[in-house]
Symmetry: C2
Subunit: 359 residues, 2 copies
C-alpha cells in the first residue's frame, strides 16, 4: 500500500524534485560528484545559487527595492536577528500574536530590545484571527505578523490587507502558496521545510533601506553583511539550496503561485467539506473565517474515538495526522507538494470513519 | 577519465556513504519517503539524531562531562556564539592567531566583548606556527586556538600539548582526522563540510559547566538552550545530520580516528615528498615543522608555470588544486574521504610535470 503523508514539517517534497535529485546524485553535470561535494566558490554551485535567487524573484515578483538572502538557522534565528538588526534606539517593535510561533518571535524580541504585543488572538485560544485595527505609530521599529499559524490552523486571508511602513512577516508555512505584493513588506522570512525545500535553509526577502551596517551586531547575524556577500559570507547549506532551486523550478513549471493558490484552495476544501458536512462529528478547531489552506485542524468527540481514528487512518496508509500537543486532535498539513489525491483520500476516509462510528 | 578532487571544502564524501544515501533515497526504512521528508519529531529521524551523537561520543572518546550539539550556521556562527556565551563581566577572551580563520574568530569576538590576541604567527605570513608559551591568567574567559589552518596549510602537531582551564578550539578542518583528549578542552567546534559531512551542520562539543543560562543571550544562540533541548530546540538540518551519521559510521568501519591518522600521514607524505625531492622546483608554503596533513600548500617559480600546472593537472583529471587567493599557488586538501590513490596520482603528476618543465 502506498503511504500518504500530512506532516507539519519537514514534509514531503514534490515527487519530480526527488526524482531529478536522484538522477543527478552521482554525477552533477558530468563532474562525477554530487553538487554537495562541490566548492561553494565554484561555478557549478554559483549557478545554482543565482538560479534559486532569480526564481524566488520571478515567482514572487520581487521588486528591485528588495534583496533575497539564503541563511541558516531557521525562522528561530530570524526571531533573534530581526530585533538585533531592526530596533533602533528609542523605537519599539510591535508584534501581532496569532499563535505559538508569533509568541516565540515576540519572546525573543523581548530579550533583545524594546518590544510590545499590540494585538492578540489568545483570548480565543487562537481559534480565530484578531481584528486587525492597529494604527502605525511613529515610535514603531516595525510591525511583525505571522501569515499562517501551523498549530491552530489559521491563516490571514489577504496578505495585501496590512499596511505599515516596516511590515515584517514570518511566512515559513505558507510562502509560495498564494500571490501577494512583496512591496508592502519590509522583511519576509521563511524556513524552507514546508513549501520551499528541506530543512537547513531560510529564505529572507529584505527591503534594501533596512540593510544598515552596525558594529553592535555580529557579522554573521547582520543582514547587511549577508546582502553584501550575496549570501556567500560563509559556506552556505549547498544541498538545501540545490533542492530549494529544484522545488522553485517545479512551482514554475506547475504554473506559479496563482496556480498553487487554486490547487491549495481545492485541496483544503475537500477536507473542510468533510468536517462541515459531518454534523459536528468532526469539529474544526479554527473558526471558518480564519481557516488555513495549509493546515486543517479538527477534533473528534472523545479521546477513544481520536485514538481509533489515528489507528484506522494508519491502517489505510494515512500518516502524519496527529495534532500538536497544545491543541490535540488532528492536523492535516497540505503544503504545496501534497497532491489533490492525498486530500481526496483523507476526505473519503473521514466519511467512511464517520459512517462506521457516527451515531 | 575519472576525475579526482582536492577541494578545500565543501569537498568529496566517502564513496560508500554516497552509495548508501542513494540506496535509501526513495524509501528510508520502508516509509516510502526520504529521511529529509520525515518530521524531526518522529522516531525515524530521532534514531538518526541519537546515533550521530553517540558515534561522535564513541569515536572521539568524549567523557560524560561534555555534551555534543548539532547546530547550524557553520564555524562563523560559533565565532559569535562563543564570545556571546562565554565572556563573563570582567574577563577577557584570549586568541592565538595562526591564520585567516583565527583572525576572523578574533574579529568577531572584538565586536562582542573584551578580547585580546596574545600570540600571533602573522610575522611569518602564517607559514609557521608561533611558539606556544602563553601562561593562563585568572582574567581569561577562555583561550581560543585553530587546530588546522586551511589557507596556509599549517596544523598544530599535538592537540594534547595545550593547557588552559577553558581551552576552545576551532577544529573545522581536522576533527576526526587524528586522536586527542577531549577532556583538555572546554569547547570544540567544527563545521561539517570537511571531515564530517556536507555543509549545513556544525558539531559542538561543550563541557557541561560552560552551559550557563543567561537572559542576555537570545535563546537560539544559547548553548544552554540547545543542550537542554538535545539539539532539537528548532528544526535541525535533518539531511546534513543524516549524512554526518553515515560518515561517522564509515570512520568507525574504517578503524576509527587512529586509523584515519595513519592514513592521513601516509597521504600527506607522498605529496610532501614530491615537494621535498624537487630541489626547489616546488616550494612548500608552510615550514616543515608546521605542516598540515589536511592541506598541502605549495608554489612554483613563476605565474606562467603555475598556470601551466593547473591546465595540465585538469587535463589529467585532477581538480581543486588552486590555492587561496591570499597565498596563491596550490593547495591539495586531503581530508579523510580523499583516498591514498588520489594522493599517489597527484604526486606522480607532480614528478612528471617537473620532468617536463624543470631544468
Amino acid at each position: 500500500m502506498t503511504r500518504i503523508y500530512f506532516q507539519a514539517g519537514p514534509t514531503t517534497l514534490p515527487k519530480e524534485v526527488m526524482q531529478q535529485a536522484k538522477e543527478e546524485w552521482d554525477d552533477f553535470q558530468g563532474t562525477g560528484l554530487n553538487i554537495m561535494e562541490h566548492s561553494h566558490r565554484g561555478k557549478d554551485y554559483e549557478d545554482i545559487h543565482e538560479q534559486a535567487k532569480n526564481r524566488m524573484r520571478s515567482l514572487l515578483d520581487i521588486p528591485d527595492t528588495h534583496d533575497v538572502l539564503f541563511l541558516q538557522g531557521g525562522a528561530s534565528l530570524q526571531f533573534a536577528m530581526i530585533p538585533m538588526n531592526l530596533i533602533p534606539d528609542g523605537k519599539t517593535a510591535k508584534y501581532i500574536l496569532t499563535g505559538s510561533w508569533s509568541e516565540k518571535a515576540y519572546q525573543e524580541a523581548q530579550r533583545i530590545g524594546s518590544s510590545e504585543a499590540v494585538i492578540s488572538g489568545k483570548d480565543s485560544a487562537y481559534r480565530t484571527l484578531p481584528v486587525m485595527d492597529y494604527v502605525p505609530s511613529e515610535n514603531d521599529a516595525y510591525l511583525h505578523i505571522t501569515s499562517n499559524n501551523t498549530i491552530y490552523g489559521t491563516q490571514w486571508p489577504d496578505l495585501n490587507a496590512f499596511s505599515h511602513p516596516t511590515l515584517i512577516a514570518d511566512m515559513s508555512s505558507d510562502i509560495m502558496s498564494r500571490p501577494f505584493s512583496v512591496d508592502k513588506y519590509g522583511l519576509i522570512y521563511a524556513g524552507a521545510q514546508k513549501n520551499l525545500g528541506p530543512s537547513g535553509v531560510t529564505a529572507v526577502i529584505i527591503r534594501k533601506d533596512l540593510l544598515q551596517e552596525s558594529n553592535a551586531v555580529p557579522s554573521i547575524l547582520s543582514y547587511s553583511v549577508h546582502a553584501k556577500n550575496k549570501s556567500l559570507y560563509n559556506t552556505p547549506p549547498v544541498y538545501s539550496i540545490y533542492l530549494l532551486n529544484l522545488v522553485l523550478d517545479w512551482v514554475e513549471r506547475s504554473g506559479g503561485v496563482n496556480e498553487m493558490e487554486v490547487r491549495n484552495q481545492k485541496k483544503a476544501k475537500v477536507i473542510y467539506d468533510a468536517i462541515d458536512q459531518s454534523h459536528d462529528f468532526y469539529n474544526g478547531y479554527a473558526t471558518p473565517d480564519s481557516r488555513s489552506n495549509m493546515n486543517v485542524t479538527f477534533t473528534l468527540g472523545s479521546k477513544e474515538l481520536e485514538q481509533q481514528f489515528i489507528k484506522e487512518s494508519e491502517e489505510n496508509g494515512i500518516y502524519g495526522l496527529k495534532g500538536h500537543r497544545s491543541v490535540g486532535g488532528f492536523r492535516a498539513s497540505i503544503y504545496n507538494a501534497v497532491p489533490q489525491e492525498s486530500c481526496d483520500s483523507l476526505a473519503t476516509f473521514m466519511v467512511q470513519f464517520q459512517e462506521k462510528y457516527g451515531k
